[in-house]
């Protein structure tokens, strides 16, 4: 059979959380958790800021632009970081591109 290709993150990708991953605010620990069948991930502040914008509609380029504004950072640098993050998380199947 022909096997599906590895998704590659680009400025036009519209990332979303895959259906087996759910964000959950954990009251007991006072932190956001990313729940999946075998793992619980505790994203740091920056990861969380990206993940919150992964709504399946916004393009990675727009996500980087809004983050650059919020954090008063250089947009190109932020885009490079966002794409690296998305690629890594997509490879691990925690983000869908």
């Amino acid at each position: 059979m022909t096997r599906p290709q590895r998704p590659i993150a680009g400025a036009q990708s519209r990332p979303a959380l895959p259906r087996h991953v759910r964000m959950h605010f954990d009251e007991r620990r006072g932190a956001w958790a990313l729940l999946s069948p075998e793992k619980v991930l505790w994203p740091d502040e920056i990861s969380l800021a990206i993940l919150r914008r992964c709504d399946g509609r916004s393009e990675a380029g727009a996500i980087a632009r809004s983050l650059a504004l919020d954090y008063e950072a250089d947009e190109d640098e932020v885009l490079a970081d966002v794409l690296a993050f998305l690629q890594d998380w997509s490879d691990r199947m925690v983000v869908r591109l």
């Binding site: 599906p4 259906r19 759910r22 959950h24 007991r28 620990r29 069948p37």
Partner: protein, 372 residues
């Protein structure tokens, strides 16, 4: 004993029933299976799950036996969903039809894991000992997809299906699964009893590892492949349950709270029952949980080892089964003086060509009940 006291637990494996449609020779249920009349009722599980949420649990794995044999399954999923807990149904899939998947999805189920005893129909039937089971599992996987739920294909691996690993990968892709678990059988309970008929030879294990590594690289972002190593052949033991009573535990069909599947095989441990004692109290103070929590119980070899917070000395039940001492270093560890002995056991079992097994069913562990 732990010095600092336990942190908050993350997951529970809830074995709702020991009843099952299949009879796998490696089943992780105990040799003495509980009958239906010993199972907790709906109200008791509801209360346990509510307490679990209060305690900080984030994930509940609904398992068995076959959890879909419980008529209250959708109701229990609903309780978990109402508290935001991630619910994972661990099923053999036989009998999981579109009506039930739709009900479970509507109740808020997060994820389904279906076991396939083989990638070929003949293998699935022979291992699970049920005719037509492969087709039923395929139908269940499609029903899961139709209900919009994510899917893991679970493949328990042993000598009789280790050459099907590539086919398992194709199967998971064909079914559109997000995840494939290539889980080499761990030898406790039924699997220990049937080890001579199940242990794969080392060459087959090495071939398998090569196939899994190549597939992982080729399928990045397409299929997540989790691999549970066959630890008799490994250099270091697995971190059983992520450490004894460290962030997960299990509850058996009658409510017994145990740090892991095989904990009852360790003599002298005192277990509490989650239907009778508050879950917080069990987590913080149950004698069985305290027994091997942290590092205080360890022998010198493990306590002084740089891997002690990685594998926690390995599995207590395996140490018990293979050395007779539950505080020993798990002999799957290459630093254990008994490691060579364990390797020799595996190699002689693998070479034995043993074909008869004790079928997993009530009374099946007794001598005399052997089948091909």
């Amino acid at each position: 004993m732990s010095e600092a006291g336990p942190g908050l637990p993350i997951g529970i494996l809830a074995e709702l029933t020991h009843r099952c449609t299949l009879q796998c020779a490696y089943c992780s249920n105990p040799l003495e299976l509980l009958k239906a009349d010993k199972e907790l009722g709906t109200a008791e599980w509801r209360s346990i799950f509510e307490q679990a949420a209060d305690l900080g649990i984030l994930q509940v794995h609904l398992s068995g036996g076959e959890p879909i044999l419980r008529p209250d399954l959708a109701e229990l999923v609903g309780v978990l969903a109402s508290r935001g807990l991630y619910s994972n149904l661990i099923t053999a899939g036989v009998g999981l039809d579109e009506t039930l998947t739709a009900r479970l999805a509507a109740a808020g189920l997060d994820h389904v894991q279906i076991s396939f005893q083989g990638a070929r129909p003949e293998t699935t039937e022979a291992i699970g000992r049920l005719r037509g089971s492969h087709e039923k599992k395929l139908a269940a996987a499609r029903a899961v997809r139709a209900a919009g739920l994510p899917l893991t294909v679970n493949a328990p691996i042993h000598r009789r299906n280790i050459e099907e690993v590539e086919l398992f990968i194709d199967l998971a892709l064909e079914l559109g699964a997000e995840r494939l678990e290539i889980a080499n059988v761990q030898y406790y309970g039924w699997a220990l009893l049937n080890r001579p008929a199940l242990m794969p030879p080392r060459e087959a294990v090495e071939r398998q590892i090569g196939i899994v590594e190549a597939a992982r690289a080729a399928l990045r972002g397409v299929l997540a492949i989790d691999f549970v190593a066959p630890d008799y052949y490994a250099s270091f033991p697995k971190a059983c349950m992520g450490g004894w009573a460290r962030d997960a535990f299990m509850i058996t069909p009658d409510g017994t709270a145990m740090p892991c599947h095989a904990a009852a095989s360790i003599p002298g441990l005192r277990f509490d029952n989650a239907a009778r004692l508050p879950l917080t109290e069990i987590w913080n103070r149950s004698p069985a949980f305290e027994a091997y929590r942290g590092t205080g119980w360890m022998n010198e070899r493990c306590r002084g080892c740089e891997r002690r917070d990685i594998d926690f000395g390995g599995c207590r039940c395996q140490a018990m089964a293979l050395t007779g001492d539950p505080t020993e270093t798990d002999p799957a560890c290459s630093l254990s003086p008994l490691h060579a002995h364990v390797l020799a056991l595996a190699e002689s079992d693998a070479a034995s060509a043993e074909a008869t097994i004790h079928p997993r069913r009530i009374g099946g562990a007794r001598a005399g009940e052997l089948t091909r």
